[in-house]
């Protein structure tokens, strides 16, 4: 396996929404889960993570909750209703895009098992 790929612009929102939609999670926790679920192929850098969270929050798609953890506070994110709707839209868009690109680069319809 090659090295982890920096994520394509635009896809990071989809993956953040998906991960935050699974359960309330901290920003770095969402990045870690994306890395794990992608089998270490996708890495969300600190420099992309924070702006993505700010953007999603400003758009009203995620909501932060401060939760006491020991003697510290941690910030957990959850999806808003708008965030859930956006996630469905972005999943549909991704599927459409990736199917269309696959149809062009794998015209024979036979794809070597993606690993």
């Amino acid at each position: 396996m090659g090295k982890a790929t920096d994520i394509v612009h635009g896809t990071i929102e989809l993956l953040m929404l998906k991960t935050i939609g699974m359960e309330p999670i901290q920003g770095w926790g969402a990045a870690k889960r994306i890395h794990e679920l992608s089998h270490q192929v996708i890495r969300v850098r600190e420099g992309s993570l924070h702006p993505a969270l700010v953007r999603l929050h400003a758009l009203g798609l995620i909501r932060p909750h401060l939760v006491k953890s020991g003697n510290r506070m941690k910030r957990l994110y959850t999806l808003t209703n708008a965030g859930r709707a956006q996630l469905r839209k972005e999943l549909a868009r991704w599927d459409r895009l990736s199917d269309a690109v696959d149809a062009i680069v794998h015209p024979e319809g036979v794809k070597v098992d993606k690993v």
Binding site: L15, T19, L37, S38, H39, L91, R93, P107
Partner: protein, 111 residues
């Protein structure tokens, strides 16, 4: 076709240009048409994105351009994939397969 056509981003566009020129040399408009056709109109390439991309790929030696007279009698450029472009195509397809499979795993929980 469901929904409106999606504009392709730079990295993916290069790969699609290589793939289409690997079939046969084409003009710029021919490349655009082929991308629309093959994707059943799901993908679209803006003219303002395509030509700068072709110029960049040409300056990197991945495609070459030849001036030819078109069917309508005008002079135009026909692009051909170079040997270096062919090598780049296989690399980019491998990269795409790896990345899209990874996105699918996160997005759909595919193992």
């Amino acid at each position: 076709m469901r929904g409106k056509a999606i504009d392709i981003v730079q990295g993916t566009l290069n790969m699609l240009i290589f793939q289409i020129l690997a079939e046969k040399p084409l003009h710029g408009w021919g490349i655009r048409t082929r991308i629309h056709e093959l994707s059943k109109n799901a993908l679209q390439v803006q003219v303002g994105t395509l030509y700068p991309a072709l110029n960049r790929l040409k300056s990197r030696g991945l495609i070459s351009a030849h001036r030819v007279r078109t069917a309508t009698g005008r002079m135009g450029k026909r692009y051909t994939l170079t040997r270096a472009g062919r090598a780049q195509l296989s690399q980019e397809i491998a990269h795409w397969d790896r990345l899209s499979a990874a996105v699918d795993r996160v997005a759909h929980g595919v193992k």
